[in-house]
């Protein structure tokens, strides 16, 4: 029973010289003592090929696709990617959220609009955009599968080289509210009533429920007292 602020981060770096995916999440990275280089590769991302950042088979992945349980609901409100030629699209079931004016899905929200930069880039206008949020946010309902697709306009890390700085690593980031348990039931009620689902509105709905319950309890107490007022008191 809770509302939790979650985040998922993807990078196209994997350890060793043969693997292209780490199915157990972010991998442990070892380093050469002679060169200082990482024992790993930044995997090539071909141009205009979408990769699911959770089960796409490149970089850190999950073992199974993201799917919501019957008691869960997700509100995706922020994401970001790197480098500038990349973009992210949200996939729910088989539907892509971002599409061109002709209705055909495109690469999605470009990194230039919602960046997730390496911390090593110190300043500059390329860092603007962290303030951006997806408004209205995207709801993912119980039982739905979802994913985030990373696509680049140009080929990244051609030949899957060993990265020498953080700027050589492509990345994606998504931030969302995970609502489960009774709070998910409240979120569903808000959805039915066309009220935006947010932590504030769930809290507001809970306050109303509590207030109405208190009113009902007070009413029952008054009715009981009224009914018992005329009765003779008996000792048991």
């Amino acid at each position: 029973m809770s509302i939790r602020r979650q985040a998922y981060e993807w990078r196209n770096i994997v350890p060793g010289s043969t693997a292209i995916v780490s199915n157990s999440g972010h991998p442990v990275l070892n380093y050469s003592v002679t060169t200082g280089n990482v024992d790993g590769r930044a995997i090539e991302i071909p141009a205009l090929v979408p990769y699911d950042i959770m089960v796409g088979g490149v970089g850190n992945n999950l073992e199974e696709p993201a799917m919501l349980r019957a008691n869960q609901l997700i509100v995706v409100d922020h994401m970001g990617s790197y480098p500038d030629s990349a973009g992210l699209n949200i996939r729910i079931g088989t539907t892509r959220y971002f599409q061109n004016p002709d209705g055909v899905p495109d690469i999605g929200m470009p990194s230039s609009a919602m960046p997730f930069q390496p911390i090593t880039i110190p300043t500059g206008e390329s860092q603007l955009g962290f303030f951006e949020e997806i408004t209205p946010p995207v709801y993912i309902l119980p039982g739905q599968t979802w994913g985030i697709e990373f696509t680049s306009f140009e080929t990244l890390n051609a030949g899957s080289p060993t990265p020498t700085s953080d700027t050589d690593i492509a990345r994606a980031y998504v931030r969302y509210l995970l609502i489960d348990g009774p709070d998910q039931l409240i979120a569903t009620r808000l959805l039915e009533q066309n009220i935006p689902i947010s932590a504030e509105n769930i809290q507001w709905y809970k306050q109303n429920l509590i207030r109405n319950r208190l009113r009902a309890d007070l009413g029952i107490e008054d009715a009981l007292e009224e009914r018992l007022a005329g009765k003779e008191r008996r000792l048991i």
Binding site: Y8, G36, F116, E221
Partner: protein, 252 residues
């Protein structure tokens, strides 16, 4: 009786510029380490435990950013090693962060929630909103996981440069974590409970507001349904007023 804004900073540094670094003095890669009692860096003696007259609201945290370690060794002294770290909040035995396949994950990276935070920096990508409540009688912990393998790097360096050994001076900071939280204790923690029962967010503003309500109703019985209903109604009226005066509306 107090509301205090607390913080805790954890720093993992080298130990000596003259004595060989011991790999066991640094957290193993991919293993979660408590920043309070994990046995590495600065620690406290007992794990954080919220006593029966306290209430904790965790609001912000951050850790050292960066992915690649970019180790720098000069004259057998390691002067730079980026940790590639993640932070997980644990309450009792439950991890706050889970991945989209509903399993325990390492948490939030230093790139998403960086620390230290400079005056010219933009806000971090990750914001802990809503905050995390830690109730009385609960233990809580901040666990830090390094994914860059420092112990292995020390072992490999010593093997490659035998009989020379790698040293990590105290001036080399490997990782830093920071957490900020509000600590409500004494009667204020009781107020937190009342607010929780009424579904009102627990923050300094609301606790002080509830205290004013209590002072106004001095001498009256404040444990009845009527009182709760009045408080609940008063909160609703106040929110409505804010909406009118400040243009505050329910957020999308």
């Amino acid at each position: 009786m107090a509301i205090t804004y607390q913080n805790y900073e954890w720093t993992l540094k080298g130990q000596s510029a003259t004595v060989a670094a011991d790999p066991s003095d640094f957290p193993p890669a991919s293993v979660e380490t408590s920043i309070f009692v994990g046995g590495f860096g600065n620690n406290i003696e007992i794990p954080p435990f919220v006593t029966e007259d306290q209430f904790v609201v965790i609001e912000k945290f951050g850790s050292t950013g960066g992915v690649l370690a970019e180790p720098t060794v000069s004259s057998a002294l390691l002067t730079n090693f980026v940790p590639n770290g993640f932070i997980q909040i644990v309450i009792n035995t439950t991890g706050y962060y889970q991945d989209p396949q509903n399993t325990w994950q390492h948490g939030i990276s230093g790139d998403a929630a960086p620390y230290p935070f400079g005056t010219t920096d933009i806000p971090p990508s990750y914001v802990l909103d809503p905050p995390v409540y830690v109730l009385p009688e609960q233990t809580w912990d901040i666990r830090y996981t390094m994914m860059n393998n420092l112990p292995q790097f020390i072992r490999d360096w010593n093997t490659a440069n035998n009989p020379d050994t790698l040293k990590i001076p105290p001036s080399t900071t490997i990782a830093r974590c920071h957490v900020q939280y509000h600590l409500f204790d004494g009667p204020d923690s009781l107020i937190c409970h009342q607010l929780l029962e009424l579904g009102i967010p627990i923050n300094v503003e609301n606790v002080e507001w509830y205290r004013r309500i209590l002072l106004k109703s001095r001498g009256l019985d404040t444990s009845t349904w009527e009182h709760y209903l009045e408080v609940s109604q008063a909160y609703r009226d106040r929110e409505k007023k804010y909406e009118e005066l400040y243009g505050r509306t329910r957020k999308a």
